[in-house]
Amino acid sequence: MCEDKSIPQQVVILGGSGQVATALKERMKLKGIKESLLGTSSENDFFCDLRDAASIKRASESVDQFDGLVLNAKKDIVKPIQYRDYSEINECLQVGISGPLYFIGQSIKEKKLMNGASIVSIGSQSQLSGLKYSVDYCAVKSALHGMNKSLIKEFARKKIRSNTVIFDWIDDGDLPRDSERLGANDVSGFANPYEASFPIEFLLSSKSRWISGQSLLFDGGRFLSRL
């Protein structure tokens, strides 16, 4: 068990694949924090398909009690809205918001989400500025902010905090080639996955114990300088 009381003891990452989750895992390993990765790929510790209620329920029953939760799962299908299937829109909403919300609910029910826990969701600058051909993705990211505000009211007695970190594109080696989609201003460059995991670690730790319901913009000033 980790001795440092300023950091969480057990963190669950929903959407355990991807470079930000890997970087976060690396940070937590350095501090001796236990983590459980949940997702559909083989690199996760527990299988959890956020499109399937039964799978979410099983995953919430399988994990140990935790005091840190990172909502990192996403589905971004780049396509004009008129060409989207209903199932594609549903999938984006299920992976980004409905599934994570059901997981939180089940974790409370199963007494897995501990009092005083910190929930950190991964937001996107697109929730502020919009992103062409990613309408449902942007809608999901905006919904996370609404989720924070409501969760802290609902979990006020349990002292569970909920915050979002808003990133711009993260340089994970797969930046879009379309300059319109990428954004024209490149003054500040892009954060790498390890840099991006820093504010997540801060919001999980008790050093941020008095921050709740907030969206922290961590985008190198790109949102402000887009005009």
């Binding site: 802290i152 006020a156 500040s188 114990r209 402000l224």
Partner: protein, 239 residues
Amino acid sequence: MKINGTSVLVTGCNGVFGTEISRRLKSSGLNVVGLSRNRQCSNEFVDQYIQISNWDRDSEILEVSEQLKKFGKFDNVVFCHGAGENISFRFADFTQINETASVHFLGVAKLTARLLRNRLVRSPGRFVAIGSISAHMGSVAAPIYGASKAALESLFRSLAREYLKKQITFNTIAAGPVKTKLWEGAGESALKVFDSRTNQLGPGSPEDIANTVEFVLDEESRFMTGTTLIVDGGSYYMV
């Protein structure tokens, strides 16, 4: 955590926030230059000290900015000074309005302008100002104070844009009601802000604000600029 650079200028270093912030930064090995209204520095964590008796006197700000040259370039600047006097808006005279606006906004703007003009802030650099939740929620007891803090946030957003290329970041921490002596003296009705119905996480402390300052000043926070981080125990959304 590794704080950016080796030096910091802390305004209001004799205050509750200033003392805690200086203590943290000093223990991280930074050279702390303090600025405060008192003749004597009462903060043991400050290495060098300069007095500024009036934030609303231009000549004094100019003199202070000249004196700061002897310390070389700063890596970090933290504005956490304040003056606590609640003024009823209707009955406030022009002097009181001017004073409040000068302490919380105009003085900060003028000193920041001088620090930048005199190239006293190194790149990569960090500016952090302690703002207030009243900039977002309004304040019946201190409307000019809230307005000044809102202006400060706006200024920092503009400067964040201007100094992107120079890698100098500007962020504001909007502090919620932290239980200090000032609040304790404000009477029963004012203390309602610490009630569990309006504050999810209970009263905050100067440590909570200092933790956030440390986070913003960290080397790894270089991607955070033009941001206002509300640190208030969730009270903004609990109301």
